[in-house]
């Protein structure tokens, strides 16, 4: 049976895009143009003025006055606190006590202006990356099923293929945003500014990797690889249905293609995470960051497959999908949520334990300025899905899977938010009009592209050698 894009959904997605576009445009229009405007804006927000020198120390002690630190510990914290300001202010040389107050004040104002100017960019970037990650995670999940020649998920292949259709337009959008950064339209990636690198020894040591030419080249190669895989695997998958005699041939072709893609993907996803996310905080590094980003996109992808499958079933499509398939997807949601938490914690614990200033600043800025989004991650992405989906029977109940899925999706949006925002807008973050608008814009675009793609082919991959097995799949 072919899918027919319902008018309601189509209109809904177009309205989402329009509202989102208006919100994004408002965000850019409302951006402060001068330092004075930025300072006024900062004074008006409830986050307060998280400045340099003594005021920063006050706020630091204020938030911790119920705890007892040793003097040494306090000193270290102050040092870290300074280095946060330092790395963002790009004023390594001027930041010592000897620097004149006036100059330091000016720099702070300029820094604040950059943060405000980054805000709409970062909001768009977070949402664009998040929906791109959903499509990419789904593509990886699909490749795993193809490469392992799994029998159960054949009936879900068309759903996965259409979600991964967003990889190409989504990738292009992310690439365009990165190009804007490269050409200096925003200050999201401070290492792209030669004036910053001039004063920063740590970034200077990284320029053999972290330079603009390499950045663009890597992004192009990676996106091309992913786009090509998606194009060809979809092409072969559709051809398989048309030709009975060559069905096995295309099956084998897709198997080989997917195995090759997984090797490329698992390497390139790490490179992508260093370039597009980790380099936002150019002093900081974490060796398992690539896996962490991978876990996040994998679980978001699987969750969206589950939600979309249940939606299509509720509309009377996919009659060959039974609740054992849903059960399996829910098991994956459960398992990969734990995997994500495992990586989150592994990264956090090592950095917390070793307490190296360069590394620990990353978490200090999140603990101090991003408490709510940062700590709620553990509830949304770990506690809630684990406790709810632990029960076998609950994994088969559609509405429980959908509710948990929505919580996981919101949680992983916040995860990307937490990776991007602290290094770009600092403590001036909000989950306001522009952020939600950007989310709505990309949600609408995502739905439009995914369901358009779903319309183009029958919902069942008929000629796959495992189709019958998948239809009868029963646990």
């Amino acid at each position: 049976m072919e899918y027919h894009f319902s008018k309601f959904l189509k209109r809904g997605s177009i309205i989402c895009i329009l509202i989102g576009a208006v919100a994004i445009a408002y965000g850019f229009w409302n951006m402060p143009k001068t330092v004075e405007q930025a300072q006024e804006r900062a004074a008006a927000t409830h986050h307060g003025h998280h400045g340099h020198g003594s005021s920063s120390d006050d706020s630091h002690h204020g938030s911790h006055d119920d705890q007892t630190h040793s003097d040494q510990d306090n000193e270290q914290h102050e040092h870290i606190e300074h280095s946060v300001v330092e790395s963002l202010d790009n004023q390594k040389t001027n930041h010592h006590q000897s620097a004149s107050d006036k100059k330091s004040h000016d720099n702070h104002g300029k820094h604040l202006l950059h943060q405000f100017q980054n805000k709409p960019w970062a909001a768009v970037y977070v949402a664009a990356l998040f929906f791109f990650f959903i499509a990419l995670g789904t593509l990886a999940f699909y490749a795993v099923q193809r490469a392992s020649q799994a029998g159960w998920p054949i009936v879900l292949y068309r759903v996965m293929e259409s979600i991964s259709a967003y990889v190409i337009p989504g990738g292009i959008i992310v690439f365009i945003i990165l190009l804007f950064s490269v050409f200096g339209a925003n200050h999201m990636f401070v290492w792209m500014d030669p004036k910053v690198v001039e004063h920063d020894v740590i970034i200077q040591n990284k320029t053999w990797y972290l330079n603009i030419n390499g950045f663009i080249l890597r992004a192009l190669v990676i996106l091309l690889g992913w786009g090509l895989y998606r194009t060809f695997v979809r092409k072969f998958s559709l051809k398989q249905d048309q030709d009975v005699y060559l069905a096995m041939n295309y099956h084998r072709k897709n198997f080989r293609l997917s195995a090759g893609f997984l090797v490329f993907y698992i390497l390139s996803v790490s490179v992508m995470s260093w370039d597009w996310l980790m380099s936002i905080d150019p002093h900081w590094f974490s060796t398992l960051f690539g896996w962490y980003v991978f876990a996040s996109m994998f679980v978001s992808g699987i969750t969206v497959i589950a939600i979309m499958t249940i939606y299509l079933k509720s509309r009377g499509y996919l009659e060959f999908v039974n609740n054992s398939h849903i059960h399996d997807l829910a098991k994956f949601m459960f398992g990969i949520s734990i995997f994500w938490t495992y990586l989150w914690f592994s990264q956090y614990m090592l950095i917390w334990y070793s307490n190296i200033p360069e590394e620990v600043t990353y978490f200090i800025s999140r603990f101090e300025d991003y408490q709510l989004p940062f700590l709620s991650l553990l509830i949304l992405n770990f506690l809630f899905p684990v406790l709810v989906l632990m029960n076998t029977d609950f994994k088969r109940i559609n509405y429980i899977v959908v509710v948990t899925g929505i919580v996981i999706v919101i949680g992983h949006y916040l995860d990307v938010f937490n990776m991007v925002m602290p290094g770009t807008v600092g403590d001036q973050w909000s989950l306001g009009f522009v952020e939600i608008g950007a989310f709505a814009f990309f949600l609408g675009l995502f739905i439009l592209i995914v369901f358009r793609s779903l319309e183009k082919a029958p919902l069942l991959a008929k000629k796959d050698p495992f189709t019958e097995e998948s239809k009868r799949f029963h646990y």
Binding site: Q67, T68, H69, F345, Y348, W352, Y353, N355
Partner: protein
């Protein structure tokens, strides 16, 4: 059912067994026990066994393990002999929590796994050196045995079971 007899019906295949068990129960025979060489998916459902509660027990064992782990790490590392953890001598349990998380996790898994196995053994009355209960030895190799009670109507039962695919049918006097 004092006039009843016990029948041993042997099957060769798990799919045949599943269908047979379903039909046997539909025809109002009482199944005493089914012996299989490996766990057969869905057999508990067609036999009408009540769902297992071992997962609930396991969850509670896990919670117990977590509690024990919190108590012992707190006692050992904070109360009894306060430790300087990672150069952060705060001596507060909450601030040093990341260091304890691996222990909390391991203890949760340890308690859940071991106590679950022990519970399973107790509940199914298994212990070391216990004599095997399966009536024929082949059920540990490649045969599936259904032990059922039948009213005193052996020929009818026999044809019925034959039709279901039983390869061997043995009538036994009711032991009770």
């Amino acid at each position: 059912m004092d006039s009843g007899k016990v029948v041993h019906a042997v099957f060769d295949d798990d799919d045949v067994l599943l269908k047979a068990v379903e039909h046997i129960r539909k025809n109002k025979y009482t199944i005493e026990e089914v012996y299989t060489p490996f766990p057969v998916h869905g057999l508990d459902k067609v036999m009408g066994l009540s769902p297992t509660r071992i997962s609930i027990a396991s969850f509670m064992f896990g919670c117990l393990g977590l509690t024990v782990a919190i108590l012992i790490t707190n006692y050992i590392m904070i109360e009894d002999w306060p430790q300087n953890i990672g150069g952060k001598p705060s001596f507060s349990y909450f601030e040093n929590l990341p260091a304890f998380v691996p222990i909390l996790f391991e203890m949760t898994v340890f308690f859940a796994a071991h106590l679950m196995v022990i519970t399973f053994y107790l509940r199914s009355k298994l212990w070391p050196f216990k004599k095997a209960e399966n009536p024929i030895k082949e059920t540990t190799d490649d045969k599936f045995l259904v032990v059922l009670e039948t009213p005193d109507d052996s020929s009818k039962t026999k044809t019925f079971l034959k039709e279901l695919g039983a390869t061997q049918i043995v009538f036994k006097a009711n032991e009770s």
